[in-house]
């Protein structure tokens, strides 16, 4: 289909804000970031070129290595669990249950709150001498142990628990929109064929909900890379450096530690990694789009 001149103008006009933002803000600021990572800037930006020295100290930094390690663990668990929980919740709600509005709001409300304080509540709940372990023991379960948040090798899983708590309601909303978009005819046909419900979900519904899964997965993944508040509020990266994450590394060094050079080197590394992961996916999608 060829586009008329006026349509063409309309499209360009519609895309103008996005284009400007891309060029001025993102490309400009990204360029600045990359440049800063090659300088020895501390509290204020400066232009003293030091080559790759910041990257050298970045990759010799235990905390950075731990942060990267953690974000991978967190990312895999958080995205898969939030997708699974969110989908299950959406399916449950879609069974024409009573008080649907209330239940949906219960699942969704955590997303409305910032981690500034909900992080503190989770910290209390998971703290062995204050929270769940304490309560279980006071109920007489003397052997009950739930002390992951104070154990360096387990603390990161506590972040997953709180992260899933916050995000799976949103996934549920997206999935529910997807489920409700599925034609009733499909369900009728399946019933006539005598297929059990779970089979319909597994082999018909889920494949039809590709867009919903993709949207949710991308939203969750951006939250993974940006993971910051949760780590600050719940464990402040601890015990020790056990639950540090890359965005927190960037933030701490940018402001509190007044080390712009190292912070931007970390940010640039994050950016390059994201491009390396996202670009092939986009290429694949673009190819698929062409075929259609």
């Amino acid at each position: 289909m060829r586009l008329s001149l006026s349509s063409r103008l309309s499209v360009v006009l519609a895309l103008l804000p996005a284009l400007m933002v891309m060029i001025v803000v993102y490309i400009g600021a990204t360029g600045w970031t990359v440049w800063m990572s090659l300088t020895n800037s501390r509290m204020l930006p400066n232009n003293n070129f030091v080559g790759l020295r910041q990257y050298e100290s970045l990759f010799g930094n235990d905390r950075w290595i731990t942060s990267v390690h953690n974000v991978v663990i967190y990312g895999v668990l958080f995205v898969s669990l939030a997708l699974a929980v969110g989908f299950l919740l959406a399916v449950a709600i879609d069974q024409r249950v009573r008080a649907e509005d209330t239940i949906r709001s219960i699942y969704l409300y955590p997303y409305s709150m910032s981690f500034v304080v909900t992080g503190l509540v989770w910290q209390w709940l998971l703290n062995p001498s204050l929270g769940i372990q304490h309560v279980l023991r006071s109920w007489g379960f003397a052997g009950a142990t739930f002390d992951w948040i104070v154990r360096p090798e387990r603390a990161i899983y506590c972040l997953v628990v709180a992260g899933v708590w916050q995000a799976s309601g949103l996934v549920m909303a997206i999935m529910l929109a997807g489920l409700r978009g599925i034609d009733d005819e499909i369900w009728k046909a399946a019933r006539i064929d005598g297929l059990p419900k779970w089979r319909v979900y597994a082999s018909i519904v889920i494949p039809m909900m590709g867009a919903s899964f993709a949207t949710a997965a991308v939203l969750l993944s951006t939250a993974v890379v940006r993971l910051y508040d949760l780590s600050v509020a719940m464990t402040n990266g601890g015990p020790g450096i056990a639950s540090e994450v890359p965005a927190k590394f960037v933030m701490d060094h940018l402001f509190e530690r007044a080390n712009i050079g190292l912070a931007t080197a970390a940010a640039t590394t994050m950016l390059v990694t994201v491009i390396a992961v996202v670009a092939p996916y986009l290429y694949w999608r673009a190819r698929k789009g062409d075929i259609r």
Partner: protein, 413 residues
């Protein structure tokens, strides 16, 4: 009443903010991170004095030092600076001076004869290129030991004076088993603060200055430093399982309630005791532990003044600088803040027993030790903090730790 009046003035000032200031009007927008009740009461002492002097104080409080600094520096680099901003006493404004962004307060300092009444370390920390660029407003002792008197009495222990005493008391408390021997808040900065206290108390003042100030990597590899590391890690035997992630005030609360014996914390912890209705020297005790006859780690806050072309702003800045250091302001501020005055020539009789003890420490030159922020730039403080935190929380050996600290010190050159 005064507060309400003040608040309405502040609101009126906010509403008028975009209107250009007339030359004779003195307005000061101050960015600081003192937001809690006691802290705000302390800031109000400054604000009231400024109002009395005919100025209008515009309060921009932002909780969290990093947040406040972020806001203040963002505005300073974009050419819209506040009149004054708070920083920690130390190296945080080095680059602001280098970038020629700050006004110096040297004239006011000379007129007020600050240099003869302030501890030497504070003058040095505020001076760059021979001029004073910052106004230190208070002294916080950071390596205090706070203990519950009833708890120590119950096991027949007296106030510890040295770290060896302290370990004996901790052992007794542990054997007794009724309370947590050492109340601890397992967050990075408090892990570092505890380490600093041990480094000063066990290793001594020269080692403290050698490691953090002179970045002496050889000293960090010495047997003496390793002994400090061992003593520090030994303290982990006396803390409870709930310590990681705990806030410092919750740890203090354990001491107040008699659920724990003692805590190492700065003198801001006193506010918690006071709020709980406890009396110094009666319900709780305070001292500084040292195996070497003393070492009082002093930190504090300063205000700096971004350069301005506007004469009225400069006037407001210098007026602020002058009245922040006025003896009456100093004592009132210290009372509210829980710190001690930065001037040694004020009447300290209004202060409580612990603050007076602090004044005595500060008066003794041999006891004065600068805080970590005064000795090292934020980047180095942070890097050492990560090393300490790793050491405390993992099974890293003292040897590995000393090698790590040595490497960090070297990398920062």
């Amino acid at each position: 009443m005064k507060r309400a009046l003040f608040a309405s003035v502040a609101i009126a000032a906010m509403a008028l903010a975009p209107v250009p200031v007339r030359a004779e009007e003195m307005k000061a927008e101050v960015i600081h991170w003192w937001t809690s009740g006691g802290e705000a009461a302390a800031v109000k002492v400054f604000a009231d004095q400024f109002t009395k002097a005919g100025g209008t104080w515009i309060d921009s409080a932002v909780a969290g030092a990093a947040n406040a600094r972020n806001a203040a520096i963002s505005r300073t680099v974009s050419g819209n600076p506040p009149t004054a901003m708070q920083l920690n006493t130390g190296k945080q404004f080095d680059e602001l001076v280098e970038g020629d962004l700050l006004a110096d307060v040297d004239t006011v300092a000379t007129e007020g004869n600050w240099k003869s009444v302030m501890p030497q370390a504070f003058i040095a920390a505020a001076t760059r290129k021979g001029k004073m660029y910052a106004v230190p407003v208070n002294i916080h002792g950071q390596n205090w030991l706070w203990y519950n008197k009833a708890v120590l009495t119950s096991i027949g222990a007296a106030e510890p004076k040295t770290w060896d005493d302290a370990f004996a008391v901790l052992d007794k408390l542990k054997v007794d088993g009724k309370v947590i021997p050492l109340a601890f808040s397992g967050q990075k900065n408090w892990e570092q603060n505890l380490f600093s206290a041990v480094l000063i108390g066990v290793g001594g003042g020269p080692m403290w200055v050698g490691i953090m100030g002179k970045r002496d990597a050889a000293l960090a590899r010495s047997a003496e430093f390793k002994a400090v590391a061992v003593a520090y890690k030994k303290l982990k035997n006396y803390v409870d399982a709930g310590a990681p992630g705990r806030n410092w005030n919750d740890a203090t609360s354990l001491v107040i309630q008699g659920k724990a014996g003692m805590q190492i914390m700065g003198d801001w912890a006193k506010g918690e005791f006071v709020a709980a209705g406890k009396v110094a020297d009666k319900d709780y005790g305070c001292t500084v532990l040292s195996n070497h006859g003393g070492g009082y780690m002093m930190g504090g806050d300063v205000f700096v003044f971004p350069k301005s072309k506007d004469a009225a702003t400069t006037k407001a800045q210098m007026t602020l600088a002058k009245l922040m250091l006025a003896p009456e302001t100093q004592i009132q501020f210290a009372l509210k803040k829980g710190s001690i005055p930065v001037r040694s020539d004020v009447d300290s009789s209004a202060l409580d027993a612990c603050a007076q003890k602090g004044m005595r420490y500060v008066a003794d030159k041999a006891q004065q030790l600068p805080s970590v922020d005064m000795l090292a730039a934020p980047a180095l403080v942070g890097a050492v903090q990560d090393a300490i935190s790793q050491y405390w929380n993992t099974d890293m050996s003292a040897d590995e730790f000393s090698a790590k600290v040595a490497a960090v010190l070297k990398a920062q050159d």
